[in-house]
């Protein structure tokens, strides 16, 4: 299922988020089961299936990492799971450093250090994101492979940021 064509937006990494939201609103009006409350069972069933697709498509298209993965899948590249594709030793080192920083901050309940680490990760992710955009927009076979590696890194960072977030939540909850 090509989510770009379902939303009738160009099949590319950079998306116009305003257009995306407008399409989402329009598709909801057309497919939400509540619009079929008095329709026949077959129309209700199809509306529910289509609406579930619309919801999933919006979730994927509005999230840069999921969107990039979807784009790669449409071009025949499946992103390998976990660390398999992570051969970049410099990044592996960096990864370990970040983990250690989080462990240190966690051991001392240092919320400020956690916020600082989160900022650092966010900046780094932003850089990778613009690289990803360039690779995907170029679109050659080789570039797509590079894109795959970038996605794996971004996914790792996303996960780590989520862990930081949870720890911050937990610490702030104690107040």
């Amino acid at each position: 299922m090509d989510y770009f064509s379902l939303f009738d937006v160009p099949q590319q990494f950079d998306v116009d988020t305003t257009l995306l939201s407008a399409r989402y609103q329009a598709l909801q009006q057309l497919t939400h089961p509540d619009k079929f409350a008095t329709a026949s069972e077959s129309e209700k069933r199809i509306a529910m299936q289509k609406n579930a697709q619309v919801n999933d498509a919006f979730r994927v298209l509005k999230d840069p990492i999921l969107r990039a993965e979807h784009l790669l899948a449409l071009r025949g590249v499946n992103v390998a799971h976990d660390q398999q594709s992570m051969k970049d030793t410099a990044f592996l080192m960096q990864q370990m450093e970040w983990r250690e920083s989080l462990e240190d901050a966690s051991a001392t309940s240092d919320v400020d250090a956690m916020y600082a680490l989160d900022d650092e990760l966010q900046q780094h992710a932003q850089q990778l994101m613009s690289q990803l955009s360039a690779q995907l927009n170029a679109g050659t076979e080789e570039r797509l492979q590079t894109a795959e590696g970038l996605i794996a890194k971004l996914k790792f960072m996303h996960k780590l940021r989520h862990q930081i977030d949870e720890q911050i939540d937990r610490l702030e909850e104690d107040y």
Partner: protein
């Protein structure tokens, strides 16, 4: 050749006739029914113009009483007067005994999973008790509106899990209601305020009831209400404020040691009264007349009340902060704060919430009635009274859905706060060579361990073709509909063998059990039951005919070949012929045939409408 359509005498419907639809707030303490009349949503009263109906049902050997009359019997027959039954919906006997050890009712295991209370009218379960309340409200509405209802929207707390929602749906069916939708209470409250003002932006719904706290964050864009996040605390409510007052009283009179049940009840009532009086006045003088303790005069000021309940209010605000974070918005983004639940009348709550958000909350609609009013507005739309409206509610899954994996861990398949309807698939493979069956355990909740989550269902996938370990690919698809109810399908990919599994909650009723309860609730069971089923199927056949006919008129010519169109028409005619007969099962089958034959047409209509609308939009954009 086109034929003019002529309706059966007595069955015709004036084209603009309004259909009767109601919204029902099925509450823990009180329930309400509301409807839209002359463009205004309003709650309906009983003969004495009482709008709140106590959610109490009394059973004696002669009759079943509901509401006020039932409540009057509570002290004389507490074990047969059931109140706060909503807390027992979708719960197992074990669960109930653990959570509410002090209940006066005599429980027994009814069906395989659903616990029941023994009464002079026999065994009754929570679903049946709720259906008595719904039925009383339905009768009130039909009396007040002068005709049968076309449909109803029933509200549920946002945090209700699959089992609790399914139980509510079954109760509506038992009460003879055509349930249009289960609607989340906070969403209903937002609608009640949102439509009048036609505002855009982020709305927070702060719902503090007797026993629960619920916070929801919604976004309103061009009539579309989108729930961004829900959260709360299912063990925090007005009762905790009463408890705080009780503790203060005991400290003031230096009472220590155990209280008798009677003393506890007296104190509870006293505390509640004092709390309510503090809503109107700055300080309350009262006398404590506790058995075994000297009569003492006490004064509780609002300032002291605020101090002793500070931690409770802070707890609600922490949950609010978390929900805002989940929604990805800040408190400055929130344009309106809606207050729901009797406990939000407390000035301390209003002040603290106002301070937290930096703006006064909306309180113009009675916080006890706001949910029913919103549900009525939604019911009016769903039943088709506002065909051109663009109001739409996008709800979310309140609790994550997952599967048990190795080692008693839960793997999340659909995270909470995902917009529903949603369908998501997960692939599994076999563990041993030649394995032909697999057990799947579906859970709901946020915790990592199986034992900490709610078990929704276990089912076996059988007939997996024998292969070497890891070769079979079983794709399990979870689908959650707009009511938040789950169904599961599974398919072995290499062979395409499909097994459909309706997920009946671990505590729910089977379809057969619901039918049986329907039968036992009707006198002269068999015949009346058959008559009721026949009428239901006839109404359904007519509804299907009208729906498909309207679709054919609109786009049959452009989307169907002549043969296809004729085949659908023929199936409809056959269905209507059978509907003249007396056999509900045959009608049901004929409806299913019409449904099957019109499936492709429905698909084409959907695709065409999307194509047309998006093209139209592109032109607009340019």
């Amino acid at each position: 050749m086109a034929f003019l359509q002529i309706a059966e005498p007595g069955q015709s419907e004036a084209p603009h006739e309004r259909k009767l639809a109601v919204g029902i707030d099925l509450g823990t303490t009180n329930s309400l029914v509301a409807t839209v009349r002359s463009g205004r949503a309003e709650t309906l009263g009983d003969a004495d113009n009482q709008h709140l109906m106590p959610s109490v049902v009394h059973f004696n050997s002669e009759q079943v009483l509901v509401g006020q009359p039932a409540q009057l019997r509570a002290s004389e027959a507490p074990e047969h007067t059931l109140s706060s039954i909503k807390r027992l919906m979708g719960r197992s006997l074990e669960d109930i005994k653990q959570r509410y050890p002090h209940l006066a009712y005599q429980f027994c295991q009814d069906s395989q999973q659903v616990p029941a209370v023994i009464t002079p009218q026999g065994k009754v379960n929570a679903i049946q008790v709720s259906s008595h309340i719904l039925q009383a409200l339905r009768e009130r509405a039909e009396q007040s509106l002068g005709d049968e209802l076309t449909g109803a929207v029933v509200t549920v707390p946002a945090y209700f899990d699959d089992a609790q929602r399914q139980a509510t749906k079954d109760a509506a069916r038992l009460a003879g209601l055509n349930l249009l939708r289960l609607l989340n209470e906070p969403t209903a409250a937002a609608i009640a305020y949102g439509l009048d003002s036609q505002e855009e932006g982020v709305i927070a719904v702060y719902d503090l009831g007797g026993g629960t706290f619920d916070i929801s964050v919604l976004k309103l864009t061009k009539g579309v209400f989108e729930v961004l996040a829900t959260g709360g605390d299912s063990a925090l409510g007005g009762d905790d404020f009463d408890h705080a007052v009780t503790q203060w009283i005991l400290a003031e009179c230096s009472h220590e040691g155990k209280l008798t049940a009677k003393q506890r009840q007296y104190l509870n009532q006293l505390a509640k009264n004092v709390k309510q009086q503090l809503t109107e006045s700055d300080s309350v003088d009262f006398e404590l007349n506790l058995d075994g303790v000297e009569i003492t005069s006490l004064t509780l000021t609002r300032a002291v009340f605020e101090t002793i309940t500070k931690e409770l209010v802070a707890k609600t605000l922490r949950a609010t902060r978390r929900a805002l974070k989940d929604a990805g918005v800040t408190k400055q983004d929130v344009q309106n704060v809606v207050m729901v639940g009797g406990s939000t009348r407390m000035p301390v709550i209003r002040e603290q919430v106002a301070q937290f958000f930096g703006k006064p909350p909306l309180t113009s609609i009675d916080p006890d009635k706001v949910v029913a009013v919103g549900a009525a507005i939604q019911a009016d739309i769903l039943v088709g009274n506002k065909p051109d409206g663009d109001m739409l509610l996008l709800d979310v899954l309140p609790l994550s859905l997952g599967l048990e994996t190795m080692g008693g861990l839960v793997e999340k398949v659909i995270p909470r706060n995902t917009t529903i309807p949603v369908a998501r698939a997960q692939e599994f493979t076999t563990f041993k060579d030649g394995q032909t069956a697999m057990m799947i355990h579906v859970l709901q909740g946020e915790r990592e361990l199986v034992e900490d989550c709610r078990s929704l269902a276990r089912f076996n996938l059988t007939d997996i073709p024998p292969m070497v370990a890891g070769a079979a690919h079983i794709r399990v698809t979870f689908q959650v509909d707009a009511d938040g109810l789950l169904s599961v399908t599974a398919m072995e990919k290499s062979t395409g063998i499909e097994a459909r599994i309706e997920v009946k909650p671990s505590y729910g009723l089977s379809d057969g059990e619901v039918t049986q309860m329907l039968q036992s609730s009707v006198k002269n069971a068999k015949q009346d039951m058959r008559a009721r089923m026949l009428k239901e199927q006839q109404v359904e056949a007519l509804r299907v005919k009208e729906a498909i006919q309207a679709a054919l008129d609109e786009s049959g010519a452009s989307l169907l070949s002549e043969e296809e169109s004729a085949a659908i028409q023929a199936a409809i005619e056959q269905m209507m012929d059978i509907a003249q007969g007396e056999d509900p099962q045959q009608i049901e089958q004929a409806i299913a045939r019409v449904d099957a034959i019109s499936q492709a047409f429905a698909q084409r209509r959907m695709d065409a409408s999307i194509k047309q609308a998006l093209q139209g939009q592109t032109v607009d954009d340019i």
